[in-house]
Symmetry: C2
Subunit: 892 residues, 2 copies
Amino acid sequence: MLFTKSFSILPALQISIQPSLMHSPPLSPQLLNSLTPEENTQCQHGLYFQDGEKRVDYILTYHIKKPSSSRSNRQSSLFTDNAFTRSFRRGTARLGRPPPPQPRGDPEVASQDHSMDYHEDDKRFRREEFEGNLRDMGLELEKDEDTKTPGVGFVKIHAPWHVLCREAEFMKLKMPTKKVTIKSFGVGAKINTLVNKATEPLHPNVEENRAQNVKHLSYAFSREKQHFLLGSGVYTAAYPLHDVSTHCNQHLLYEEWASYSVFYKYQPIGLVRKYFGEKIGLYFAWLGLYTQMLIPASLVGVIVFLYGCATVDNNIPSMEICHPRNNITMCPLCDRACNYWKLKEACGTARASHLFDNPATVFFSIFMALWAAMFMEHWKRRQMRLNYEWDLTGFEEEEVSDHPRAEYELCVMQKSLKKEHKTQKVLIAYCLIAVTSFQIGVTFAIVFGVILYRISITAALHMSNNPTTRSNVRLMVKTTAAIINLVVILILDEVYGAVARWLTVLEVPKTDKSFEERLIFKTFILKFVNAFTPIIYIAFFRGRLVGRPGSYLYVFESYRLEECAHGGCLMELCIQLSITMLGKQLIQNNLFEIGIPKLKKLIRYIKSKRRSFQEEEREKKLQRYETDHFLEPFAGLTPEYMEMIIQFGFVTLFVASFPLAPLFALLNNIIEIRLDAKKFVAELRRPVAARAKDIGIWYNLLRGVAKVAVIINAFVISFTSDFIPRLVYQYMYSPDGSMHGFVNHTMSYFNVSDFQDGKEPMDPQHLGYQVEMCRYKDYREPPWSNTPYVVSKEFWAVLAARLAFVIVFQNVVMLMSDIVDWLIPDIPKDISLQIHKEKILMVELFMKEEQGKMQFIDSMTPCHGKERNNHAPIARSRSIPHTHSHTHANNF
Amino acid sequence: MLFTKSFSILPALQISIQPSLMHSPPLSPQLLNSLTPEENTQCQHGLYFQDGEKRVDYILTYHIKKPSSSRSNRQSSLFTDNAFTRSFRRGTARLGRPPPPQPRGDPEVASQDHSMDYHEDDKRFRREEFEGNLRDMGLELEKDEDTKTPGVGFVKIHAPWHVLCREAEFMKLKMPTKKVTIKSFGVGAKINTLVNKATEPLHPNVEENRAQNVKHLSYAFSREKQHFLLGSGVYTAAYPLHDVSTHCNQHLLYEEWASYSVFYKYQPIGLVRKYFGEKIGLYFAWLGLYTQMLIPASLVGVIVFLYGCATVDNNIPSMEICHPRNNITMCPLCDRACNYWKLKEACGTARASHLFDNPATVFFSIFMALWAAMFMEHWKRRQMRLNYEWDLTGFEEEEVSDHPRAEYELCVMQKSLKKEHKTQKVLIAYCLIAVTSFQIGVTFAIVFGVILYRISITAALHMSNNPTTRSNVRLMVKTTAAIINLVVILILDEVYGAVARWLTVLEVPKTDKSFEERLIFKTFILKFVNAFTPIIYIAFFRGRLVGRPGSYLYVFESYRLEECAHGGCLMELCIQLSITMLGKQLIQNNLFEIGIPKLKKLIRYIKSKRRSFQEEEREKKLQRYETDHFLEPFAGLTPEYMEMIIQFGFVTLFVASFPLAPLFALLNNIIEIRLDAKKFVAELRRPVAARAKDIGIWYNLLRGVAKVAVIINAFVISFTSDFIPRLVYQYMYSPDGSMHGFVNHTMSYFNVSDFQDGKEPMDPQHLGYQVEMCRYKDYREPPWSNTPYVVSKEFWAVLAARLAFVIVFQNVVMLMSDIVDWLIPDIPKDISLQIHKEKILMVELFMKEEQGKMQFIDSMTPCHGKERNNHAPIARSRSIPHTHSHTHANNF
């Protein structure tokens, strides 16, 4: 039953043949093979079958269980034999002649000598049947169980030309028929040439044409089958090989892509796509565009920040606070433990706040919302251009991944209960909600813990008498609290990744694509909430609902919500943001991404070393497929994208409070591109090349983040910053239209005689004089009004203004984003022009062909009907190579 | 030069062949023709060439200028000849045998006898060259200048089978290869069967299978060429014929589609699409879905309205106003002319307002926002389903319309100035903005005029003493004002349509598609603004900024902004909405749409009658292409869509104030579908069948309207209705949490001694007692406060609540719409399943074919290479009919 299943999947096997392959004369295996030995001389062994002609396109590995007694001598004897034949082959290969095929005994027979338990026998049987099916499909297999990696058997798979052609037809791969050069004239073209010349040093030294001779035949099994067979333990690993011919070009990839010294250059995306397939190519193209787009954003951000620095001395509110004659006595910030204090103490914070809380930040957050819209549009265009250049315009995504997942089928087989599945789905939905709420709870608990830490430290510090130490230590407390937060976020991040996977596995989605999308969605939700909850707390909840002096609000009778320093919570938000962002990037991305794979590789290497013999010799003479076996398997692009989308969140969501975020992101990404490149080229097993037309769900998530960013920025500007109160004061209350008196206006009066018992400060004489009336930052009625201490009319006016700003900001920015979306066409003009012209050329070509055909029919009418029935199906299914050779014939 | 251009366009000629055509054995003209005479017997003449075999696929008409002296006798002599041959042919056709081809002299030679001026000669030359090119393309032409329509020459065009096949291949038309029946089991399928049985009477009595024998060969010229030749006067009209075979099925279309008696049935969309092409089919499918979706919306709307009716007696605020012991004296509503009045007078309005201003309307506007999102999603799904059923899944829109427009080419030829074009574009953008502002100005001016009318009438009425007359007449004034507004809107609508066209023509867009889109966009903007400006004025501007008693605000010193009646402006908004909507639908849609085409047809008929001879006889024996010539040419779907999208605006934009809008729209649309159907079947020349995958820009406009609807409804609920003030009172100010005292709370006090000179009422004793303190509806400080008459804290609190509601409403509804968008997959599950299964079947079929091929190659290897080079191109380009006949052969 299992095998009828796997057989039914077989027709849908996918091959990723690069179009460049099609450039070489296709139906001449002689030509193909004559190239092979030459390449072989330059490159490593193990890339070809024993006959030296057939290329290894894919590797399956499995576990061989042999009695330990006979293993050692068998291995060693076989090793010498192998080493000999191999060196012989290498020698003949250097002479430019393929070595004769080596007649060898079936290794399967050898392994059958030993007794095996039933389980192993069953697995072997499955393997044999599966391999039989593969051969039926036209694939050629070769087994190698006598490698220097004991206990691991390798199945080398070669896909012959006719199989590739068949699969190419099923996949509707596009084929070059005729070269089209479309010239552009006019001033625009000249400017283009100039720009190209000017940006010459930015382009990588890769001749894209040179890559046309590179044959890249990664034979991609549909992944669900991999899981199916890998999951049941029949095979242990499945991967294509790191390509020799490209590996020889790996100098190119190493030097022009995976190297920090070329950080200022564009990526050789064409080469990346040729080597790793479209899916990974798209990731790097996206990452490249994102990094590129960050350059203007960080420039503007730096300018905004510098504007804040330049105007800090002209800022009237902070000048008023810092004025030496300013003598305002402030109310204690907590009951009993805190004392009266002078507003002058807040001078430093007020000045620092101005750096991030000035009119330029409003402009900047509008700019960044439009920037995000622009980025989306540019990505759509870039994607379209790549689709055109990579000949994906006709490719339909859905072919790749509509097969049910192996796990799903297994699950259905095991349970065969549709109903249970449905109720389970509902359960899982509840589960996700529960986990998310729990998570938000946990995050808040942690935030609360950090608050506790801060409160206790701050309260202890308030006992001290030196005001400068106090304000310094306050900053230190904030910083350490943010670091604690960061560490917690990093730990929880890993936990939530596991939770998301567990939930998705519980859900048993039907297809691989839906599994991936659901997993991504869940992981995104959990990680996003995890990263941004503390920041949202600081931005929107800290400092609200604190009560007023004399009746501060308490949670659980003893802990009260924190207040922000004078000058808004923006400063603290900024510290939290920068530490989280920098920390996440430095620790998670760089430490984890570089460190952990290296560690894993080391562990795997040591493990296999322990089991192996003759280590030093073997190391040098490992077959290509054996060295690849020691590399870390490719785990998908999800972590890479996830990291970037969280970063995109930092760049857009709270950009109003931290204009330097794009700069930090830019610096990180310049390293990130080369880091990822290195990882892909050298640290990982070669990923199965997968075709993809777009970046899938990630685009939707990006759009979602950009949408949320608009509303969050609106709230940050209107509620977290003092922008709106300043405006309201200036236009409604200021006597002379200036900001003079703003600080006084934002502070209410409190009569110290209204302190309830036990709430007055322990040391009322702390400032050296008797305080009768103190001030606090809030819009409340003064003690002498009819309704003392209730919120005043100014409060409601400012609130209305804040809310109005949110509405206006949100709708204006959304409208502008829509206009950007509408103004920038999704398909670049030159591409649509080129597609159109190619279509016309195609039509003309076929018209000529048809005219020839008509004449042909006229001359051959009698035998036509008969011929047609015989030859039509052949000619039809082979039409791609035919037409190709036909047009080629025209060229020569 | 003109003709090389037209030649280069020729290869892109498009043919819309219906897939049903492909069902008939294609490569046997004998079979095809053997069917023809049978059909011919049933149907009208003029549908075939003179030989009775070749079908007329397309008609070109041109103007013939003949000296009037020789015309009459020539005509009559030719007429008898024609009548004879025709009746002869008809006779023979009835016998089931095609008539022999009639050898006839070239009519072009006959017309050359007469002297013509240079201009006519040039046109004739162009026609000849163009027709020569058409013949080169493989088309067959026949001329008929001797019709009974004097002065009009007809060119009948027939597209032979091989041309159709070639074009079908260029267009990548899909072809049925094998019948696939996918059965569904389980409970779901059973329910489906039951549902199908239950809805049986709703389906039209059309056997879709029966239509398979209908051949529909409308040969669609690319429209730009039409313009090109029609625009330069070479030809006067170009249209395909109303199809005979379908015309014989026209009973079906008439009875099952274009009839009011089947209003409750689904439309036979498949048949409509067969007859009119995909573009018009999509319009009717869209209209049908929209009408269907209106059913639940109008149901809920009626329920909401009934809820309002049922609760009007329990509504505390209106009870308080109408309470007999209510003795509140209200301030005069205008200076001097108006008097004090009793709040009790507003009882009727307050009760009526409750019908549209109750908590259910809030629910309803959320419901309608989600309804709009649902409608969009359902349309996407329906469109996908139709794409699948109509085999459009692989079709790429852009092929149709990327050719530059003829006008554009002419313009470029004439001016050949690219720069000027660019500056002109900028100019036109400014122009559009100017026109829109001007238009808004005009609309406001008209609104202002209507206001003036109302104010003067109202002021005059206020002089009268009878309070009940006054309140009745007030309503009358509102209604007449709304009617005046409506008439102005209707007139301006036509004006703006012309303005939009003029602006777009000025712009000279490059392609036909962009021309259409720009025109639609401009027309939409102008008509939308025109329709909704008065309504927006009433909803958001009337009643604001009126000032207060004693200092009412004046514009231009003498006119003041109107106030709304007590109970909000919602009532007036409702009247304005219902009158505009009903009036627009009744007058514009039905009167204009039915009346004007009939009138035009009559005029055209009378005109041609005046010029013609032997009228009575000719009328009965007109060729099909002549009767079609008298029909109104098809003017595109733009007016139909535009009408519907404005209606969609009425249904969604202000639904919070008028829950009956969906019901009115539903009633209108039930008529509209059948009306449009009648128009298309009988009143218009047959439109050129155009392929389309979607409804294009209209979908974006619908989305835009749905988006705007969310924010407008948020504002209507929070600012136009009293919903928020009621909530604020209930939760912030009410002593017992009930609504008692709300009316009192919303009214401020005014001390009559504060009236400035000349502003107090002329008749202070009007109510029979001396007024010292009057009330007015506003949140202002009382006269005894420190700051009398400035806005109070309550005002700001209510404003903040209103704004907060807008933010919450907008974001919640947008989020819910996004979730709806996300939850409903764009492709229906059964369709995606079917597509997937078909793909697998296809792959299996080709796999079998390939296995056969492999065996074939093995057996024929030596001669393979040679054969390939000779036959490949033929077999390739003819592959569609080949495979078809191949699979057919398998079936027999």
